[in-house]
């Protein structure tokens, strides 16, 4: 059996249309999870469990730099348009985007992101980045630094823990996807 001639097959785009749509729809899943899933946990940052899991999953199944950021930015735009978030659309958009950038930064620093520790770290950094955006916006509008930081020690801890838990959940999901044949399904498609 001969290999087909691939002279005209190479796509010039960084992300193929399939990858773009896959990331976009994972972004929609992030928004849905944020709106529809309610956890019986009353601690700041708890939504990061599912959120970070999905962003970590996005980064690994589309193994290109910026994949998680793209999914996150898109989900941020969708969430903002749907009125998600307590502190306004700008905060929603920037915090969703920051989460994705955080995941991408961590994954860019390692060769193989599909490891439990890396996924947990990516989740933690991503979730913390969300908190960071809220802090920066409060500082930008002039709230005294002391006030801003005083109330953030406890959330910083919970955001880190839930983000790491989300990243670890993403790792478990990726392992299950791989065993179930999902990556073989992806590998067959451009």
């Amino acid at each position: 059996m001969n290999e087909n001639d691939r002279t005209t097959l190479a796509a010039p785009h960084y992300l193929t249309l399939f990858e773009l749509l896959l990331l976009g729809m994972l972004g929609a899943l992030v928004v849905f999870a944020n709106v529809a899933l309610r956890f019986p946990i009353r601690m700041p940052g708890h939504s990061g469990i599912v959120w970070m899991a999905l962003l970590v999953i996005a980064r690994v199944i589309v193994p290109k730099h910026g994949a998680s950021s793209f999914a996150a930015v898109l989900s941020g735009v969708l969430a903002a348009l749907m009125g998600v978030g307590d502190k306004g659309a700008l905060n929603t958009l920037l915090s969703y985007a920051a989460a994705g950038v955080g995941v991408d930064v961590v994954c860019a620093l390692v060769r193989a992101p599909e490891r439990a520790a890396v996924c947990a770290a990516a989740g933690a950094v991503g979730n913390l980045a969300k908190l960071g955006v809220k802090v920066l916006l409060e500082l930008w509008i002039g709230i005294p630094t002391g006030f801003v930081l005083l109330g953030r020690v406890y959330p910083a801890v919970t955001y880190t823990v839930f983000g790491a838990a989300g990243g670890y959940l993403g790792f478990l999901v990726l392992q299950a996807l791989r065993r179930a044949g999902f990556f073989a399904y992806l590998a067959e498609r451009r």
Partner: protein, 215 residues
């Protein structure tokens, strides 16, 4: 434009900020958008009250009013945009502004897939519950309970990711079958601006210039 101006206006000093907020409030009332703006402000009422009290106590009344106005404006800055613009219009604007069509199409597809995601999620939940997944934690010891919940979460998220990927592939094939990546394309028409829209744009630009430039 108005939303962007509002988000930038947060850096104005108290006097000019008060003028801007008054004009912004008048536009909100005139546009019948009082309800969504009120809903957004209501969500942060506790934060606003605590912040106002602490600022007044430790710094002064003027500062407290300034921060409260800035916070309220920031929170509602993009409410106008989101309340008056559909995702389809956002896509058209993205394209008119030169965003590659692939990205605009991705955005539109993601938005339209929200309904599908919800339907599939409920289907997954029902199908997995029928197998005893997501059942009551009952008498599990704490550690075992969390492990089971993690396992349940995997049982829900895996099918969700698979179904999302299948849908993305179906759309990819359908778009490719209709020549999506063709180099020549009819430009998007985009939303039409009414005379009121032009007036609003001019008014916003004028207000901005007046507040920032005029000393």
């Amino acid at each position: 434009m108005l939303s962007l101006a509002a988000s930038l206006a947060v850096m104005l000093p108290l006097g000019k900020l008060a003028v801007f907020v008054s004009c912004f409030g008048a536009l909100v009332v005139a546009g019948g958008l009082t309800r969504p703006v009120y809903d957004h402000l209501r969500r942060i009422r506790v934060l606003v009250c605590v912040l106002f009290a602490l600022d007044w106590l430790f710094i002064g009344l003027g500062f407290a009013v300034l921060i409260t106005l800035r916070l309220g404006l920031l929170v509602t800055a993009f409410t106008l945009l989101c309340a008056t613009t559909t995702p389809e219009e956002v896509r058209q604007v993205f394209e008119r502004c030169g965003m590659p069509r692939r990205l605009a199409f991705t955005f539109a597809t993601a938005y339209r897939s929200l309904d599908l995601v919800e339907t599939e999620w409920h289907g997954i939940l029902e199908a997995q519950r029928a197998r005893g997944i997501m059942g009551p934690a009952s008498a599990d010891p704490p550690w075992s309970g969390w492990r089971r919940r993690l396992g349940d979460a995997v049982a829900l998220v895996v099918p969700a990711v698979v179904l999302v990927a299948q849908r993305a592939w179906q759309v990819t094939e359908a778009a490719a079958a209709r020549g999506f990546d063709a180099p020549v394309r009819r430009p998007s028409v985009g939303p039409r601006l009414a005379s009121l829209d032009h007036l609003l744009l001019a008014g916003t630009a004028g207000l901005f210039i007046a507040l920032y430039v005029v000393q």
